[in-house]
Amino acid sequence: PPKKPRSGSRKVPAETITPGKTAQPEEEVAELNYKKEKFLSNEAQALNIKNLGKCRTFGAVCAGVGAGILKLGAFQGFLFFFFVFLLSNLILMFRLNFKAEPYFGKLSFVWGQGKLSGFMSFLLFWVLFHNLVHIYQGLFLFFVVRE
């Protein structure tokens, strides 16, 4: 069976201490920390991962638009995709205040999961906007092909 933590570790923030009462006993705090670590909600995890995937896909779309307009080659385009992936991760870190524990469990999960989840969307929009801007010069929108 999983072992319970020692009573010496306090990880629960001061908000759990209600005013007018004494501080929670060490055993209760340890019990709460143990429960927070061990009992996770699958629905919430799935919601968070789905949300993250949606954000990453949209970021990949923006990256594809940028790569297409910049007329990037093959290798440069993939570099641009990974650059936008890193940028989106950084923005996520700033929004989470660098504390992924209540939302994803571990920070490393955010960096390691879904590196190529939006790659197909990136390819689609890369090719689309490259043709739109550099080959059809934007007139494709009006169904006219310039030769």
Partner: protein, 128 residues
């Protein structure tokens, strides 16, 4: 409600406009280079910077306008449940039955004597 989530959508719109402007600039630059009978290799530096900024603003707007993340600790949700909610099956409670028609004068012939029946809420709306 539209204005409350407007900051993310404004960022997205602004980023999209910046990228559209960069695309039009590239098209104009291509046209100019063709008129000068030169070869178009890559867009100029200012367009590149504009695109990077536009992409960054778009990505930022996506994370601002995305739905909020949910805490995965089950303790937070379980601690809020009341004792009554553990043993109830609200979906099985029936409030729409034929007794409604058998109430005061509902089955009568005279429509003027039939009283207005209040709207019945669904069981899911009644549970806290």
């Amino acid at each position: 409600v539209f204005l409350m989530g407007a900051s993310g959508k404004l960022l997205l719109g602004a980023g999209f406009l910046v990228m559209a402007h960069a695309a039009l600039s590239v098209v104009q630059q291509r046209h100019y280079v063709r008129l000068m009978e030169q070869e178009f290799l890559r867009p100029s530096t200012d367009i590149v910077v504009e695109l990077f900024l536009g992409a960054a603003v778009c990505v930022w707007g996506v994370f601002v306008s995305a739905s909020p993340l949910v805490s995965i600790h089950a303790v937070d949700k379980l601690a809020c449940r009341t004792w009554e909610s553990l043993t109830t099956r609200a979906e099985f409670r029936s409030f729409n039955h034929r007794g409604r028609a058998l109430g005061p004068n509902q089955g009568g012939a005279d429509p003027a004597r039939r009283h207005h029946v209040p709207e019945v809420l669904s069981p899911l709306e009644m549970v806290d």
